[in-house]
Structure formats: C-alpha cells, structure tokens
Amino acid sequence: ENPVLKIGFVGVTSGPAAAWGISNQRSMETRAAWINETGGYEIGGVTYDIEIVSFDDQKDPKRAIAGMEKMAQEGIHYVVGPNVDDGAAAVRPVAEANDIMYFPYAFPRELYSAPASNAVLSMIANYQSGPAIYKHLMENEGVKTVAFIAANESDPLSQRDSGVAAAKELGLEVVSDNVTYQVDTTDFTPVLTPILRTRPDLLVLSGVSPANAPQLIRSARELGFEGLISTETAQDAGVLAEGAGDLANGFISVGGASTPELASPMMNEFVERYTAMFGEYNDESNTKVYALEYILETLKATPEAIEDVAAFQASMDDFSAPNPYMNGDEQLTYVGMTSFGQKRQIAVPLVVNVYQDGAFETMFIARVD
C-alpha cells in the first residue's frame, strides 16, 4: 500500500453557489482517483496515493475558517479554495499560522500581494482577462461602447469595478456601470431594460454565476439586444444550451482548455473519467483541473515541500513543467508579477471561448504574466 498524500479543498459545495465548489471538488476527486488507479504519484522517490479531503464552507466565512483549521488538523499543507472573496480573506490568518498554501478562486489583490504569502490565485482574475477580451473585441469587432451589469454581491461587484476601470483604461466608452440585480432575480427584463437603452456594443456580465448567465442572455436577446455579451468567469455549455438555447450563440466567456483544438488527449480522458464518475461533466471544471496539478507538479519538483511550505514558496519563482492538458508545448508556471508583485498565481492559459450551438469554440488565447 502506498502512503497517502492528502490535499485539501475548502469551498462551497452546497447552497446557491454549489456549482463553483462542486466543480472544484469533482475535478480533484476525478484526478486523484485516476492517479491512484494508475499506481499513484511519485514524489521524491516515494509513490503516494492522493486523497482529497474536502470541506463544505457553505459560502460562509466562519465555516471557511473552521474548514481551514480542520485542514491544519489533518496535517494538510496544500488546500484548494475557497471560492469567494470573503472566505478567502477570512482563512488567511489560519493558513499563514499553520503553514498552509491555499489556492483560492477569488480575486482580492491583497491576498496575493506581499506581505500575504500563502495564497495562490488559481485562475485568471477578471482584471487580467477583462482587458484582454475588451481589447480583442475592440480590435476585431469594432466595439466602442460597453455596459456592465453585476449581481449585488461582493464578488461580482468587485469584478465589475475592476472591469470598468480596465475598459476605461483601454479607451472604451462605459455607457452603464451601475445596474445591479439580486442573485435571486427570476425576471431580468426590468433589470436589463434601462441598461439596453444605452445601446452598448458590448454587455459585460461581471462575475455572473452559471445560474444567472443563461437567463440574462435570454432576456437581453428577447428584448432585442444585438450587441456582444461576454463574461470573465467560466461557464458550462450544457447549462447555456438548456437555459438560453440558440440565444446564447456568440456569448463570450473564459474557459479552461477543453475546446477540441486545445485539449490534449489527457484533457479528453479527464473529461471522460469525470463524466463516468459523476454522471455529467461540467465545463467549469476545465479551469479547475489545474490547481491540483500545480500542487503535485511543484511537489514533484521540490519533494521537501511536502512538509515544508517555505520550500514550496521558494520554488515557485522558477518552477516550470509541461502542461499536460493542452496540446503543444504549453508550460505550467507561476506568474503574477504584474498584478501582485510576486509570483502568486498559476499560469493557466487565458482561453477565451465563444459559445456556439451547444459547445465552446476558442476565440483566442492569451497569457498572463
């Protein structure tokens, strides 16, 4: 029997935002099962079985702290999550006190900038992807005016604000930036009507949850909106197909790397295994397969980091390994110098997708430094 290496997950797997955490948890569990099935993961000459210990924080920062404490208790040093800003901020003291590196899906800059040391942003922040997308659309689609809409919650609002700033920076005219909606809105017509009156070329759904995206798209199209719609969060094609059908065609979002032209055989196998294990795939997991892979690869490169978080941090600056999920010679590296002044972000390729008839197509790929 192999010794066990435990990797933690603290995030939201129940309640309204369950989709975010569950896609994380499942992608980790799929990958762990796969590794264990094929004999384990070798680090420093020892082959480990990987065990995922996950904790449902119910999107409650109090619970998130308890979860992080639990991880410390289990002797875990590498944790994926939390999924939202407040949870990620709340666990910081615990993580730092207990030598835990954690990989949130949340964007507050201070989590990743010095003196903070233990958080690693595990996706592309919208203040990174946003500008890239807007720029692309300005250049290729002639977009000149943009409107933002966000749910009235911390994460989406913060994302909207940074999106607005980025758009202005690029010289776009922001025609509406203060319309918000409650996450439980069931009818978006009244919400969208005033914003569409400003006739933007591009409508940005800031930090939109997979549940709200199809409804927003559908309502906007039914109200006669003909411009572009985009978001900077990951979405699931199936959900879009069910919720908005053809109306979602042309919808731009950020994804991982499972579009046919990018996905490596390994990615395809991952999707297969995931589907076999959980009955249904979720495209959000494309972006969520990476954190675990980064942790394992980094440990492989620096075996002493299994117990020594400082070693992990030290190795981050020049860590590099091939990206197994993408075709070509993409590399896994840590980035973040521009945004945070230190390398505290995983270098997931910024893949911008367009939804078309039930699947995503790649629009363009960019990189973050």
Binding site: N178, T180, P190, A211
Partner: protein, 289 residues
C-alpha cells in the same frame, strides 16, 4: 411605461402564486413555512425532469410536479408538523421544524438533481413586440395568463367549494371547525398539501422561463414572506395584493432607480418597514382576534 406595467403584472402574478401557498399554510397551521422556497424549487426540478429530460408533454409534467409536491406536503404535515404542533409548548417550535425541513429539502435537491442550473425547451417561441414600447416573449405572456388563471381557480376553490369552506373554517377556528364535522387532521393535511402544491405549480410554470437551480429556494421564501407581510399574514386576498404590490414595486424601482445602483431593494425593504410600522397587520391583516 407600458413595459413597466407589463413587467409588474408578470412579476406580480408569479409572486402572488408563491405567496398564496405560503399564506394558506400559515393560516391553517400557524406555521411559517421556511421550506416553501425549496418546495418551489422541487416543483421546477420535477417539471424539468419530466418535460426537459424525458420529453413528457408540458402539461403532464406540470401535473406531476403538482402531485409530487402535494404528496410531499401531505407527508410532511402528517408525520412532522402535526405531531410537533401537538407536542410543543410553544407554537414557534414549528419554525425550527420548518427550517430543518428547508435544510433537508436543500440537501435532497442537491443529491438528486445536482448543483447545475437547469432549463427546459421553450413552450412557445417568439416575442411580442409592440414597437419596442412593450416587449414580452409569448411564453411569458402564456405563463402570466396561466398564473392568473390558477389564482382565480384557487380563489374559486376556497370560496365556493366545500373543501375551501372547510379550510377557511379551519384557519379561523380549529375547534369550531371540528364541531362542524370537519375532520381537522385530514383537512390540515389537505391544506398543507394544497399549499405545497401551489409552490410546485409555480415552480413548474416558471422553470420554462427562468430555469431552476438549488439556490433559488431560500431567497424565494424570503420574498414570499415579504409579500405575505405586505398583504397580511394568513389572508388570501392579502397574499395576492402583496404579490402584485411587490411585483410592481420591483418593476418600477428597477426601471426608474437603476441609475442609482443598488438601492431598489434597499428602498423596497425600507418602505416595507415604514409601511408595517404604520400598519402592523399588513393591508388585509386581521383587525380582530
């Protein structure tokens, strides 16, 4: 303006239906059913499963979701609420129970239907567009009409049928109803089932437009509470008023206050508080007793 009015009617009709079920259960058992929103979500998922996944005709799927909820409601009343009401020193204990049931249903929904947002194919295509002054997709118009018809049917049931009369009597005085020959245990169950069924019906209707996901339950309950408060707890006409008032407030607020950002709901909440401070029993609430 036309658009705002239309939005108000549309929102109001669906809200009123949600509030009706809640108020019915409250009137009958003095139970503030925290799980009402979850019941609504289950209605959506059942309709999704039958209509969206298995291709059963929509009307049949709707019927199935009504039945499912009626059964769930009946079971919950029979095996949980009724004994707890009998055994507890304070009526309020039912709140704890209702919250527990809300948690349980949430957990079941997650396990059975999963975490994803679900939607079904449109029941009718096309958008009614009157010169861009009034835009309303046909399926919304249909749902709105169906909702209003259901409300009318429900009122007729409560006013003119024997069951309705028994339920109303039960709500006003249990013992007296018993003395009229109403089997209160049975009718409480029927009433609860009916309330739950209403939730299932709205869930089923709305899934065609908004889709459904497991997070919609809690917030829906809270909205329903607000409507019930506006109209007066336990009063049917109150629920309907409350639903439409909230619907119109949202429609107007969102249309005219949007440039101020996040304040529509804040304003709705604050005006609700002011309103209740002036009229503590809501619009139609009990003047006596």
């Amino acid at each position: 303006m036309e658009q705002v009015m239309a939005n108000g009617v549309y929102l109001g009709s669906q809200y009123a239906m949600i509030a009706l079920g809640l108020t019915l259960i409250f009137a009958l058992m003095n139970v503030l059913n925290f799980a009402h929103g979850q019941m609504y979500v289950i209605g959506g998922f059942v309709t999704y499963t039958f209509y969206g996944q298995w291709g059963v005709p929509f009307v049949l799927a709707l019927f199935m979701s009504c039945m499912t909820l009626a059964i769930i409601g009946a079971l919950i009343e029979r095996y949980l609420f009724a004994p707890v009401i009998k055994g507890s020193a304070r009526e309020e204990s039912t709140m704890l129970l209702a919250a527990g049931i809300a948690f349980l249903l949430d957990a079941l929904i997650l396990l059975i239907f999963g975490e994803k947002q679900r939607g079904v194919p449109k029941i009718v295509d096309g958008v009614f567009n009157w010169d861009f002054r009034l835009i309303m997709p046909y399926d919304r118009i249909l749902i709105c009409v169906l909702a209003i018809l259901s409300i009318v049917a429900f009122i007729a049931l409560m006013q003119y049928s024997k069951t309705g009369r028994a339920l109303r009597a039960l709500a006003q005085d249990r013992t007296a109803a018993q003395l009229m020959g109403v089997n209160v245990d049975r009718y409480s169950m029927i009433g609860f089932a009916l309330g739950a069924m209403l939730a299932g019906l709205v869930g089923g209707l709305l899934v065609t437009i908004t889709g459904v996901n497991l997070g919609m339950g809690g917030p829906t309950s809270i909205k329903a509470f607000m409507m019930v408060m506006i109209g007066g707890a336990g009063v049917i006409s109150g629920a309907i008023w409350g639903g439409f008032i909230l619907g119109f407030m949202e429609a107007f607020g969102l249309a005219y206050l949007s440039q101020y950002g996040d304040i529509t709901y804040l304003l709705i909440f604050v005006s609700l508080m002011i309103f209740l401070a002036i009229r503590p029993q809501g619009l139609m609430g009990k003047p006596w007793g």
